[in-house]
Amino acid sequence: MSTDTLEKVNSRAHKSAHSRFGSRSRRVQFVFLCLLVPLFTMPFYVMIMAAFKTPQFAEVTTMWLPPSPFSFDGLQEAWSKLSPNFLNSFTMVVPAVIISSAIGSFNGYLLSKFTFRFSNIMFTMMLVGMFIPYQSVLIPLVKFLQLVNLYGTIPGLVLVHVVYGIPITTLIFRNFYVSIPKEIVEAAAIDGAGILRTFFSVIVPVSIPGFVVAGIFQFTNIWNDFLFGVITISDPTKQPVTVALNNLSGTQTVNWNVLMAGALIAAIPTAMAYLGLGRYFIQGLTAGSVK
């Protein structure tokens, strides 16, 4: 589907939205959202203010006051301590998100469009096991990684994130695909397409919103992960950014301005990912898929 077709569809959907939901209810909703905005941005205000303060001034009793004196030290120190690890995070997150989303969407397709004897049990088993606190499986995890020679490497960390991400991405896509009429799949089957071809030609094109939420969830989850990052990789130069961020606070002494600045810096890639993915929240991508 070309972009201008998408836009036409988009604006058509908007017009129908306008005409159905009278402008009064839209105004009410707009006001409702506007009232929520200050509540949601309040913590950001505190963080940004603190990031530009001196260590002495950046603490709880002065949190609402603007920086006085204004200081870039927090940003400088945070950046110098975090930037070496950004590349590690990227090389780890991007493959992990892509692979786990891809596998999840394929699994979701299998579970939603086909009935085989153990599908429900397999799916439930995959989901349930994730609920255990990860702190308790760290040691067998490390032993396993050493067995497959991936301990201490970024590919090893990618493997861990992919495997622990599969249940959730599978869940997201499976429950997304159940709303897609089965007839589409069967139409393709009649045309002679096998499972894989049906997946790529029929399912994937309508999966965009699914990939968006899976992408948002996985990117955030994996980028902000601390536990696996610090356990599977012991070399500080290869660890992801969250480990460096955690170390910005000393064990006993903390310079809050540095920590807040660091948190803001570390969140930028994720925020960019949301911006990039959010563009695809477009109405009507499933239009025309069913004849």
Binding site: V9, R12, S16, R20, F21, R26, Q29, P43, F44, M47, V60, T62, M63, N107, L110, F114, F118, S119, N120, M125, M126, L127, G129, M130, F131, I132, P133, S136, I139, P140, V163, P167, L171, F176, V178, S179, P181, E186, A189, I190, P209, V213, I216, T220, F226, L245, L259, M260, A263, A267, T270, A271, F281, Q283, G284, L285, T286, A287, V290, K291
Partner: protein, 343 residues
């Protein structure tokens, strides 16, 4: 459940059955590797929980006289009892707030025009931050002397409250030691062995700010999930209902909501998973709280294993949490998986 039939071709049975078996095989690799990472590791953890003196560099799985003593002592432990209570209350209230608010915010954002991207960004941005730091920020915000309580004063709400009730309006938030309600007596009758309950089985008020902080951070995700569902409702359906002359609320009730049900379930499962394993945010924000008012199983496992160096206790706590999840969540999952597949 209403079905929209857009094709009149009957399913071809033979091809379907062959395809189904192939599907099972294609799912198998994922299932196997996840099973290793989950069930094999859990088995090892069960072994650790039953061992008498397991240490990382001396992994001795030998059991003592009473391997289940660890589990028994766990349930007698006032801290673990508080953790179970807190986890239950936190999960329930957190899900309630986040899913409902996320849904309504998604509806509103979905109807916006050019401001859609802006609102989406504002609500989603908290999700991008690291839990460790948001915990600290919210701890500051909920400081009873210098945080959000100041707004109560400046807006005149505190003054109004004082004139009506005659006492200061100064919510204690995280510093509160109060527990509201106590169904301990009731539980003692229902649960076998309920006499071992040592803690107040009510809602610790200190959990409220923690729930607010977590909801703030995860609401954007819930909103994103529902938005994904809303944009996927095929235009044909919207147009069809419009032509039928249905008003907005009818469209939502009979068409949009049922279509969003699977997404709601996904959101519920994912958020439950987050709530049950919550650790960093609470650890940074409130620690264990007065009398363990905000302690969580995740914190207990962490401290048991790596601070108290009692690996068997920490392992046992993890297994107990998993068992509870199995008992509650599994039947629900199996049922909803069957229902949502009814299409």
């Amino acid at each position: 459940m209403s079905q929209v039939k857009t094709s009149s071709n009957p399913p071809i049975k033979r091809k379907k059955r062959g395809g189904d078996k192939k599907a099972a095989l294609l799912l198998l690799p994922s299932f196997l590797i996840v099973s290793v990472f989950v069930y094999v590791f859990i088995t090892y953890t069960i072994g650790v929980s039953l061992a008498e003196n397991w240490m990382p560099a001396k992994p001795n799985m030998a059991r003592g006289e009473d391997p289940f003593a660890t589990y028994k002592n766990l349930f007698l432990n006032a801290r673990f009892q508080s953790d179970l209570r807190n986890s239950f209350i936190f999960t329930f209230l957190f899900l309630l707030v986040t899913v409902i608010a996320g849904f309504f915010i998604a509806l509103a954002v979905h109807n916006m025009g050019r401001s859609k991207g802006f609102f989406r960004g504002v609500f989603l941005l908290p999700y991008a931050l690291s839990f460790i730091v948001t915990g600290v920020v919210w701890r500051w915000l909920f400081n009873p002397d210098s945080g959000v309580n100041l707004f109560l004063q400046y807006s005149g709400v505190a003054a109004a409250y004082k004139s009506i009730k005659g006492e200061e309006l100064r919510p204690e938030w995280l510093t509160s030691a109060t527990t509201v309600g106590d169904v301990g007596a009731l539980l003692e009758k229902i649960i076998p062995g309920g006499e071992i309950i040592q803690v107040q089985m009510g809602i610790p008020l200190a959990l409220i700010p923690v729930i607010i902080a977590t909801a703030w951070q995860l609401l954007g995700f819930a909103m994103a999930m529902f938005l994904a569902g809303l944009v996927s409702i095929p235009d044909e359906l919207r147009e069809a209902s419009m032509m039928d002359g249905a008003k907005g609320s009818r469209y939502y009730r009979s068409i949009a909501l049922p279509m969003l049900a699977p997404i709601a379930i996904t959101t519920l499962v994912i958020l439950t998973h987050v709530a049950l394993k919550i650790f960093d945010l609470i650890y940074a924000m409130a620690g264990s709280g007065i009398g363990f008012a905000t302690d969580m199983p995740g914190i207990f496992v962490y401290e048991s294993m790596y601070k108290a160096l009692k690996y068997n206790t920490g392992a046992a706590a993890s297994i107990v949490m998993l068992a509870i999840v199995c008992v509650i969540v599994v039947p629900y999952l199996i049922r909803t998986n069957r229902e949502t597949k009814g299409h």
